[in-house]
Symmetry: C2
Subunit: 343 residues, 2 copies
Amino acid sequence: MESLLRYFDMLCLIPKAPNSISTPEILEKLQNMDYAVDLRTVQRDLVKLSASPLFPIANTENTKPLRWFWIDNSSPMQLPMISTDEALTFKLAEMFLEPLLPPSVRARLTGYFDLADKRLKESKFEHWIEKVGIVPNNLPLLPAEIEPSVLAVVYEALLKNLRFKATYQAVNKSPKIYEINPLGLVFRHNSIYLVATIFDYTDVKQLALHRFKEAELSDRIVLVPADFALEDYIAQGSFSYPVDNHLKDITLKLKVNGFLKQMLLETPLCEKQKISDIDDEHYLLEATVTNTEQLHWWIRSFGSGIEVLEPLELREAFVLEAEALSEMYCKSDNHLNSKSTFL
Amino acid sequence: MESLLRYFDMLCLIPKAPNSISTPEILEKLQNMDYAVDLRTVQRDLVKLSASPLFPIANTENTKPLRWFWIDNSSPMQLPMISTDEALTFKLAEMFLEPLLPPSVRARLTGYFDLADKRLKESKFEHWIEKVGIVPNNLPLLPAEIEPSVLAVVYEALLKNLRFKATYQAVNKSPKIYEINPLGLVFRHNSIYLVATIFDYTDVKQLALHRFKEAELSDRIVLVPADFALEDYIAQGSFSYPVDNHLKDITLKLKVNGFLKQMLLETPLCEKQKISDIDDEHYLLEATVTNTEQLHWWIRSFGSGIEVLEPLELREAFVLEAEALSEMYCKSDNHLNSKSTFL
DNA sequence: ATCAATGCGACAAACTTGGACGTTTTCATA
DNA sequence: TATGAAAACGTCCAAGTTTGTCGCATTGAT
């Protein structure tokens, strides 16, 4: 029994394929875990384990301290086994993440998605996928593709607090090599942006990951500018979303139609929202939300289904926008659209 | 060694907490796997395994065929261990899924997210999270909450092709008990809808999962109406998204501003889109896309940043909308808004 | 009440494990 | 090129573990 546990711990010590661990290292770690074993035992155990098809581990055959690793691209084994509803949730997550994560990021989870697939197949539940549909409420734009090797370097650089050298091609410019001092990653609009400083300059830049051609880890450590915090940097509006460059809660009063009323009842804007009747077809919505550009997009997207009543500044902004739209479209089209009313 | 494999296979046979397996069942399955073992051996093995804190398995102590299960709420163990970049991707996925999946669905993956957390902590990479930000481009609405027990029954019913009995409270009506014949699940707008027929009627209904109060699996099998396929059902516009109730590709010509031009260069509308200059501030975008309600929302959300030029039908629709908006806002505001120009 | 199925303790035979020791191989250093 | 340290690997054997068997107790169905 003791040996079963040791086998288990040994298997846990062995890393996945690109990495490896030598037999003496395993011995040392096991001894730290209070297993009083001999090197010979470790050697024998490893040979035994690797002989079983259940544990696809192998060693580098011609080095002297043999190094062991899991042969990969197989999906992980786990205990307890993935349950069918976990498997379903994984498939669901996969469907949701597909339009959101660039393929090179998502690829790091394929092992789990495959595991879920296998589980569903063996349970004869493979038809589940046909029983689930996702209707996105935003337009699927094609994600910008990122060089997988670049992504790997960026991940590692952020993890290990190291700089990296990379070829970056800014819009309308020729590619150049920079030393990048990475501070954070921001996912927006199906794209990934690296927030970083360059060389030893101190101004914080945003670099789109898909504009990097190649990257190589450096050994210089990252210098974080005093007081820099990614969250604050985003909140300050560096990604140009909060309105007027600072986040502010506002109390909205909107006149909405029946469709929106129903939708908002089911998925409210905030926890304390109130909906009351104005007339047979219109409802008053009151809610407190953060005044962001997303809010404006959301309101605009319903066209005349939403009329902003308060706050007044917001209403005025929408009045101006309505005029701009009207001017843009009606100028040229008044003559051909008989239904247009004279304003 | 043989016994190690047997232990492993035994552990795989044991399901997670709500489910369980009896000792004789384990014996039978092991024998099917060509292990020539005795029942007594299985019994002893289970006792031994459950004694180890590594394998949190337990049995029902007072039933005669003892039933074994994994004690729950522990994160799964896996081999090979989760790598740091898998862990990072899990955390990322968690951040993305948070606003998309109702808590009761997401809860089924918490084990994995916890596993990722642990891994990141032990590698001292916990600060990674502070280095990643997600800027959503849609307004986060609060997801409708679903009774976890209802979700479990619905999942199971769909998996096993069984009907279920449930209490459903339709909008503005009192709760009633129905026998539901489930056909599929649709995720839309942060809500989950069950596509189903009721009792033995043949008309297909959409039932919001959060409107179910309780549910109980029945043993009657699901009857799928002839020719029913969820994908077609959605595509037919049953969730009211495709325009004019059928999907049609259209060739868009849009006049867009500089911000949009840049955005579309990075995340294009379709693979063959073309962008050309109109004047210093405006660009002509040509792309072929499916004419859906999402497209209209997307266009509307940019206000006067986009002018639809073609197809003409679409332009006319936007002309009408611009007029409606203008009428809605300008009527009442002309007098108070000095900035508004007379049209 | 009876029977079949299961759990559990005990025991001995069979098997596995792991340390000891020796030989071989490889690599780094003198 | 010689030398030595470290690792791999083969083999032996005693200690320890595993497993089938049997007997008895308990439980639930007929």
